[in-house]
């Protein structure tokens, strides 16, 4: 247990801690769930504490100086006053330089520790930023084991993840505060970073670089789960979508294929395989829809399909005027895509 972190957890007043740290998986840069975020969190506590100390000392100087000055009847002139002040100012600047140097050294050390975190047999995930959602691909030498999903990244706990980011349109920034710092997703540049989740949990992430109308609603989830649970999830996701079970789902699939959905979305196992929009093969297995904007329930799914512009104005998905029975059947089908 790093002494500073213990100090940090204990000494900061509970209110600030509650507000900033939060408990469980509340999204916060000082509530680390992996080694990378932990190193940065320790650095954060160090910077905060030394910074506050320096601030209070300088304010103390100022208050003392003003009070001392106001008590004077006439100002301190002459060489000895100047020599005294020169000593104090020189000392203060010296201390400032010293603190800056130690901060610099600690910062470089943390920086290097963060950088050499790569590991040859890490799980590689390629995330592609689109205007206002995330496309996630699990990279594997065997093409049959390459999985494409969207907006939710399942990772095995305790295993290093190598993240490659790229963009199809504008600059985004992939940031899950509980796991690691952000990495900019720049078109024409292949950004990469590496992290590891030590605690299972659902960690929120956001796009951190302004990327247009719906930048505010471009979230994602990183779901860390034990190794075997992840393997089971991965196998399930690899399989194509099951054929529709009953008549309602059959009609729902018919509505899905006849309307404009296949023009943008892909559902493996049907003839819909366009890469323009997110992959919906296992939509029902996801916790949220529309890049972390809505929980994945039947009501929200219906509201989203009918008029996405009301929820994410400016999103590329058009409104879909459907009759009641068509909508009912479509929702039935979509919720069957486990």
């Amino acid at each position: 247990m790093h002494p500073l972190r213990a100090l940090g957890r204990a000494s900061v007043p509970a209110a600030a801690m509650l507000v900033v740290g939060g408990c469980g998986q509340a999204m916060s840069a000082v509530n680390p769930a992996g080694p990378q975020a932990e190193r940065i969190s320790d650095l954060t506590w160090y910077l905060t504490i030394t910074g506050s100390a320096v601030f209070l000392v300088v304010l103390g100087f100022l208050a003392y100086a003003v009070r001392r000055g106001r008590r004077r009847t006439e100002s301190a002139e002459g060489p000895e006053a100047d020599r005294a002040m020169a000593r104090w100012v020189g000392g203060a600047v010296g201390v400032t330089t010293l603190i800056l140097l130690t901060t610099l050294v600690y910062n470089f050390a943390t920086g290097r520790a963060l950088a050499d975190f790569a590991d040859p047999d890490a799980l590689t995930i390629r995330v592609t930023g689109h205007q206002w959602w995330w496309d996630v691909q699990y990279v594997d030498r065997a093409p049959s084991r390459r999985l494409t999903t969207a907006n939710e990244i399942h990772v095995p706990v305790g295993r290093r993840i190598r993240l490659e980011v790229q963009s199809r349109d504008v600059i985004h920034s992939f940031w899950a505060p509980n796991l690691h710092g952000k990495v900019d997703v720049i078109p024409g540049y292949g950004g990469s970073t590496a992290f590891r989740a030590d605690r299972p949990g659902v960690y929120h992430g956001r796009c951190a670089e302004f990327c247009g109308l719906q930048h505010a609603r471009m979230d994602f989830l990183v779901i860390a789960e034990p190794e075997e649970q992840f393997a089971a999830w991965f196998e399930a996701q690899l399989k194509s979508s099951a054929p529709p079970g009953d008549a309602v789902q059959q009609k729902g699939q018919q509505v899905f294929l006849s309307k404009g959905c296949p023009l943008c979305h892909a559902v493996r196992g049907t003839q819909a395989n366009s890469r323009v929009g997110p992959d919906l093969t296992h939509l029902a297995s996801r916790r949220t829809i529309a890049a972390g904007t809505l929980p994945n329930t039947r009501g929200h799914l219906g509201g989203w399909v009918l008029d996405p512009q009301k929820i994410k104005p400016g999103a590329k998905m058009p409104p879909n005027p459907l009759a009641a029975d068509e909508l009912h059947a479509l929702l039935g089908y979509l919720q069957s895509l486990k």
């Binding site: 509340a26 840069a29 954060t44 100087f61 600047v93 910062n107 990495v183 720049i186 951190a208 302004f210």
Partner: protein, 642 residues
Amino acid sequence: MSATTGEQAGAGLLDAAGRAELERTWAARPGLWGWLTSTDHKSVATRYVATAFLFFLLGGLEAMVMRVQLARPENGLVDPDRYAQLFTMHGTTMMFLFGVPVQLAVATYLVPLMVGTRNVAFPRLNAFGFWTYLIGGLLLYGGFVLNTGPDAGWFSYVPLSGPQYSPGKRVDVWAQTVTFTEIAALVAAVEMIVTILKQRAPGMSLNRMPLYVWAVLVTSFVVLFAMPSVALASMMLAFDRLVGTHFFNPAEGGDPLLWQHLFWFFGHPEVYIMFIPATGFVSEIIPVFARRKMFGHTALVLSLVATGFLAFGLWVHHMFTTGLPQLGQSFFTAASMMIAIPNGVQIFCWIATLWAGRPRFATPLLFVLGFVFLFVLGGITGVMVASIPFDQQAHDTHFIVAHLHYVQLGGFVFPLFGAFYFWFPKVTGRMLSETLGRWNFWLFFAGVNVTFFPLHFLGLMGMTRRVYTYHPETGWGALNLLATVGAFMIAASVLVFLANVFRSLRSGAVAGDDPWGAHTLEWETPSPPPPYNFLHIPIVQGLYALWERTADRPVVTGMITHRREILLTTVLDAEPDVRYQHPGPSIAPLLAALAVGVTFIGGIFTTWAFVVGPVLLFPALMLWMWKQSPPAEPLTESEQPA
């Protein structure tokens, strides 16, 4: 032929007739035509500061709407498109239309008075600078009113601001506004450098120059080398959008990071362009209200120069998360932390002067003390984000919004308000009320802290910048509501300031020449100063001109009064060198600015404007250079026909 020091009593001193002729020669023409053609640095500077302050209010209104929209989750006050325009307009207005212009405008008012000369070096260029700036401001707000305000952020990262992802003319309006404001800043910087180096009163050698004049000199050099970078970047972006060049198109060899390098190479020095003159204000206000000479004058000058140089070595700390090589970024971490040392020197020297002096709590000193509090806090969060790992968490979040507002509001707007209270009597001849001043200060100080301190926590909790709304379950609602309350406090304090100004313009106490007992030359002139500033150019006898003035301090005589003339002195020791013909008022700067306006605004719609504009510009420039003041009196040596 050098200046002869005459001992005979009163030889060459101007009598009443001489003063009247001087008044006539230097006065602007009457009425609106006089106002449009005026080249008096005080007249141009007051309208410049007033316009910049108007944009400050507009920027503040935009901020208020944003704060109300963020006051609670899922708020529906503005839709995402309007919110994108709002935060872009707020950033662009505060940085390009208020920040840099107001500092250079105050400089063009004060520097000629402080160095003891009659006008700024190139007065017509000064007027041209203001008109260009005004056209830039009108273009931006004209666009905003016509639903064509920029919506890609105040630094408009490519490719979002590129031709494909920003359809229409919105980003073009932004790019041309940047071009206008940067022409105005460059012009003002050149004037300030030449005025300070060549037109100081005899005796004001470099080591006797006031600290504010040093600050303006350093700022002008920073402007000289920073503004071309954004001029080039906005020109390249405009060409990318209008004629299809590929400077920033990643698919055809262009590079989005080229934009970021060029923009931030200007971006960071720009915030120092606003901060360095503010340290100049503080260094002028503290000696006067601590009633003691400033401790460590040379140390402060050296730290000013050091800040000016270091400002150009930090820009990559805006790009720590773009994945540039680690070694390169570490250099910029070290440079970003090193700049805290000269700032530290300044702050410790100010505190020492307060300790050694006898400070009295007038409003200017209150704003200076508030500045120290806020700027030290902002500086420390600055050192925090200078470290790469922490910046990876804090970059583009509300932590940065908190940091930048602490160093901008604390570091630049507080000293600016202190300067308003300090020099308002000199500009208008009337004192501002101290009680309203205190209300203004304490509301502002509390407002800044209540608004921006919570944003530190919001940033670490994941609230990114430029989000028009957020989910209720993020838990950010409470802190955002608190910040919005703080924003209303700031608005209230600005209203108190406006009330104070208008009340004192009407019925404020009459301020004499020197209400504060200050030491710089402008306090020797009447309030408000006459068009010619000094009846006789003073001879400076020490660093603290008025405090170290001997009873029989000599003045300069022998300058003609029937035509505008200024005294040029040598650069280092300010010995009288040349009597220089000074151009009179002219309408040409306005016409030239309009021609430049036609060129760049037309350039948004058709490339032909870049041909028609210059054709219009040349006659305006001809009028500018040829129109001489009428030779009513006998021609002096320089006016003999060639």
